[in-house]
Symmetry: C2
Subunit: 297 residues, 2 copies
Amino acid sequence: MKCKFCNKEAEVTIRYPRMHLCENHFKEYCENRVKNVIDKHRLIEKDEKLLVAVSGGKDSLVLAYILNKLGYEFEGLHIDLGIEDYSEMCKKSSKKIFSEIGLPLHIVKIKKLLGRGIGEVKTRRPVCSYCGLTKRYIMNKFAYDNGFTAVATGHNLDDESAFVFSNILHWNIDYLSKQGPLLEAEDKFVKKIKPLYELRDKEISLYASFAKIEHVTKKCKYARGATSIKYKKFLDILEKDNPGIKLNFIRGFLRNRKIFKKKDFELRECEICRMPSQGKRCAFCRFWRLKEPLMFQ
Amino acid sequence: MKCKFCNKEAEVTIRYPRMHLCENHFKEYCENRVKNVIDKHRLIEKDEKLLVAVSGGKDSLVLAYILNKLGYEFEGLHIDLGIEDYSEMCKKSSKKIFSEIGLPLHIVKIKKLLGRGIGEVKTRRPVCSYCGLTKRYIMNKFAYDNGFTAVATGHNLDDESAFVFSNILHWNIDYLSKQGPLLEAEDKFVKKIKPLYELRDKEISLYASFAKIEHVTKKCKYARGATSIKYKKFLDILEKDNPGIKLNFIRGFLRNRKIFKKKDFELRECEICRMPSQGKRCAFCRFWRLKEPLMFQ
Ligand SMILES: [Zn+2]
Ligand SMILES: [Zn+2]
Ligand SMILES: [Zn+2]
Ligand SMILES: [Zn+2]
């Protein structure tokens, strides 16, 4: 089978939109998808000071690689979670790609900053839950403190469609109106963008392997409980029968998400860190029992 | 394993809410579900003149049987679709149950009324599609012409959850705000009710077998293409992992369906039959090329 765009043998078959592609044209296809999402949703403005959050996994490393290839300027942020060997591997992969593309990478070490690594805190809260809270807070505060105007993350089509799908299935719809590839800046929340919004998990894996992007494939040892996996599997079954259903589902969602609009509730300032908070102290300062605001260096 | 409510051996295990039941208590459970839906959604008013549409399949026959057992007064309507032996079997089962419960059953023969049976019309439209149109129209017009104030149909939890699910998945959401166990009367549209809204397909089959309700299990030969089967299967996979998800999904939908509200468009009167219509002639009169309104006897 020949590539749709050249005379080379096709290496990849994409089911929706259906086409056979050689290695180079497959990479181009992925890069175009990212470019299209950025343009269509106006993710990156002209003078954006962009921070790209990289975990060491395939999604965020491919994100950094493609954004660089598309000519965007940015700096990286890697959060070292302090989970033994696993975090070491993640840091190594993140550093490698940034040294290859020649852009600066900031590394924030949770253990150094907060005294304990992820998984070392005595709490009844599931590890994944406070890990997420911690990462989101640090990404935002690091960006805000350092004058970045946008934070890009590696969320992909499978992540996002499973998230929206499971929230509708359980009618947890209060925050769906704000879900999407772009979350505008508000107060001290820096703008968040998801340029991989229309790339499938499998496509990103394949891209990483073609582009020889070393990344951590081992799952975090705390991740096994993630329920999102169930909905991803389910959507995979649907997708098998209806190629394109994930993409069309998530696009239909974006067209219709205004129906999920709920009143915003007011935010005040956390009395510790001065970042936006629902209560007197923000969830981050409460969880980590901070007495002083978190400071980077 | 003993029945939850008596000393008999349990015959059935219900997964959500989890319980083991003997034959009699299982039947009681089903009847209570129907009663609860009728009460919770006020499906049947005090002086309701109720018409129960029966196809000859398990759902509608169980519906008639349970409504009678619960003490409701009603008459039946069976539409003879004119599909050879299949329709003969359907008519026989319908007649049998109505003679057993001692209530009147009206039979409307499509072939006699409209010249051709379902499946005998030359059209590019799928058979299931114009069959549905025809049945819906006849149920409503028969009820309206004869002074019935409500039409009950046998739609069950699997039908309804698959319908809502597939419509959200494809974002065909314009009419979702009107979906539910109760569709109020409007203009010449008689009220429609679905008392089996919270009973599962399997529960109804089991009820039919315990109550010895003879029904047609053969599928209509035109039904093979129905895409709803696909979504029913998917929901079954989900339900296996999350017992109760169908029920909770559909209940969550009912709590939230107002978000799907769209402006009603205006209806006029069909120039042939004087029933509500979007265009000059209603879809039914157009499809069957009627020059006179359909009259029963
Ligand atoms: Zn090529
Ligand atoms: Zn705080
Ligand atoms: Zn019992
Ligand atoms: Zn008409």
